[in-house]
Amino acid sequence: MLKYTIRRLLLMIPTLFFVALITFALAKAAPGSPFDKNPDKPPKQEIVDRWNKFYGLDKPVPEQFVMYMSNVLHLDFGTSIRRQRPVSEILGQGFPVTAQLGAQALILALAVALPLGVISALKQNTMVDYGSLFFATVGTTIPSFVMAIFFIYIFALGLHLFPITGWGTPQHMVMPTVILALGAAAFLARITRASMLEAIRQDYVRTARSKGLREQVVIVGHVLKNAMIPVATVVGPAAAGLITGSFIIETFFSVPGIGREYVLSITALDYPVIMATTLLYAFFIVVANLSVDLVYGMLDPRIKVAK
């Protein structure tokens, strides 16, 4: 187990290297430069040259990449061109916010999706089931930015329950968290329902019933653990998706997380921030997948983690 984990962690290095390589190439391939963002008042060429020299942008692209990577190895992520501040400082401030938003959304999504999926499977083809199916369909089909507009219209402008933008107090957190959680909850509820229905009609459930166990014991002891295996598979990527995928919501509600920073850095061609944020996201997705694989081994005895 430990050996396996270490090996998987080492495998992260090439993964992250290639993510860095591709992102770097793509960012450099994008037309324009960080210094021509104001077309009405283009800066003087000599100033641009000086800036380019200062940020090392005058060197050939491969050399820039090598330099960047060697800096990263020393945990130096450079300075934001747009904001003139160290990237580590920007991410250090923004990441806790994004992580909190993602974690809250994940907990909320699981708290809603698991019971909903289980209950609708047990009450298949009843009003409860149809209700949750409706919720799941709405949650998956309506994009979060549309949902956000509805929420702002109803809860902020109409009922004045929550502030529209900002972050800090619990009231600020409600709408972004709920909207971010909605899509994931709908998706997880559907998976839970489907895998419950799959598990419940297995032969071993009939065996359990034939032993005279109460229906609750059959469900909790025999069905649930089997049904959770497929769910666990998707929770990892879903968690990574919630933490990394909140940039729309963050931009919408002006949440000071790294998602918003990411979007702004891309439009400004702020190379250091683009690189650092992408690497951070990639790191999270890799870690989430690794934890799923480890949890999987615990849930399903048929999957042995290789020594």
């Binding site: 032969d203 071993y204 009939r206 019933r209 034939s210 032993k211 005279g212």
Partner: protein
């Protein structure tokens, strides 16, 4: 001898979109304490549904036990409330299922799956149940049971898993064990071992058991009496020796002809029963076997025969066939010599071919 189990006129039906499937259609039989009964028939003739009905394990909906009574130990299982039925399941009646690969829970240890019933019915604590589980695994001859008790099902072979199922069934000392095709999913060498084990344990524990199979060869050495089922009904019943020596009904002959025999020449071909089992939503009006029977006469398609005693056979030998009743044309027929009307066989073959040909494209 008083009967442990007395099933009377049991009807179990499945309500599907296409209509009502009469899976078990008026089955009556008895099992005495300690007795072994075989229920034999083709796939889909209602054997398994009969067994599941006895424990009220029919998935509902779409299934439902419509009428009849199942007297077990003086009580009607069909009139019990759910709690009482659960008290019987696993304790007084236990079941061994067909496929040991899928009938054990893959994420629970063997120990957990056996102990569960012991803790529930025998009120054992964890430790007692664990020790008893080890004893049971030794009883079904699982080598180094103590070491393997915390293994998961996937670490066991098919035969071993079926042994675990048997241990599970025996755990609470049931009075009746229902074994539904217990060896069908196993390969032939393992089949014999499992059957031996079942036979010996049933004798040792004086447990009655019902062995359900499509294979007459399996019940031959195992049971005292045999019920042959067809299309949800019992069509012939006799004690085992009598049934093999003196089968009376054309369907049973068909089953016997389709078993390979050691005393026949190697070149002798097995004779299948031509045709397909009837549609249980709209069964034929007369004898259910009539459309496939090469000995049929006009009366067979008009009215369904009763299950009746056969003249000049042992007293408890009964068959549901016009030909075997008093004055019937099959009473003295020797099934090995007279294979019936060969033109009928051809007709049935052709009809089956045309039915399957028209049905296949849509499937």
């Amino acid at each position: 001898m008083t009967d442990l189990l007395e099933v009377t006129d049991l009807h179990t039906q499945f309500f599907t979109r296409d209509g009502v499937v009469r899976a078990v259609d008026g089955v009556t039989f008895q099992v005495a304490a300690g007795e072994t009964l075989g229920i034999v028939g083709e796939s889909g003739c209602g054997k398994s549904v009969t067994a599941l009905s006895l424990m009220r394990l029919i998935p509902q909906p779409p299934g439902k036990i419509v009428s009849g009574s199942i007297m077990f130990d003086g009580q009607d299982i069909l009139k019990m409330d759910d709690d009482d039925v659960r008290g019987i399941r696993g304790k007084s009646i236990a079941m061994i299922f067909q496929d040991p690969m899928t009938s054990l829970n893959p994420v629970l240890t063997i120990s957990r799956q056996i102990s569960e019933a012991l803790e529930l019915h025998m009120k054992m604590d964890k430790n007692e149940a664990r020790n008893r589980t080890i004893e049971l695994l030794e009883l079904v001859q699982i080598p180094s049971a103590k070491k393997r008790i915390d293994d998961y099902p996937h670490q066991f072979s098919g035969g071993m898993r079926q042994r675990v199922m048997i241990a599970m069934a025996l755990s609470c000392g049931p009075k009746l064990i229902l074994a539904d095709e217990p060896t069908t999913a196993l390969d032939v060498t393992i089949q014999a071992q499992i059957l031996d084990l079942l036979k010996n344990l049933a004798r040792e524990f004086r447990t009655a058991f019902i062995l359900i199979t499509h294979d007459l060869g399996v019940v031959a050495g195992m049971t005292q009496r045999i019920n042959v089922m067809y299309a949800g009904r019992i069509v012939e019943k006799a004690d085992t020796v009598e049934l093999f020596a003196n089968p009376k009904m054309p369907y049973t002959w068909g089953l016997l002809r389709s078993i390979p025999r050691l005393d026949e020449s190697r070149r002798a071909k097995l004779v299948p029963i031509e045709g397909l089992p009837p549609d249980l939503i709209a069964p034929p009006p007369g004898c259910k076997f009539e459309p496939r029977c090469q000995y049929r006469r006009d009366v067979c398609s008009e009215k369904e025969p009763e299950l009746k005693r056969i003249p000049n056979a042992k007293s408890d030998h009964e068959a549901r066939c016009w030909g075997t009743q008093e004055g019937g044309w099959l009473v003295d027929t020797d099934w090995k010599r007279e294979i019936g009307d060969t033109r009928l066989i051809e007709a049935i073959k052709q009809e089956t071919a045309s039915v399957t040909a028209t049905e296949t494209p849509g499937e």
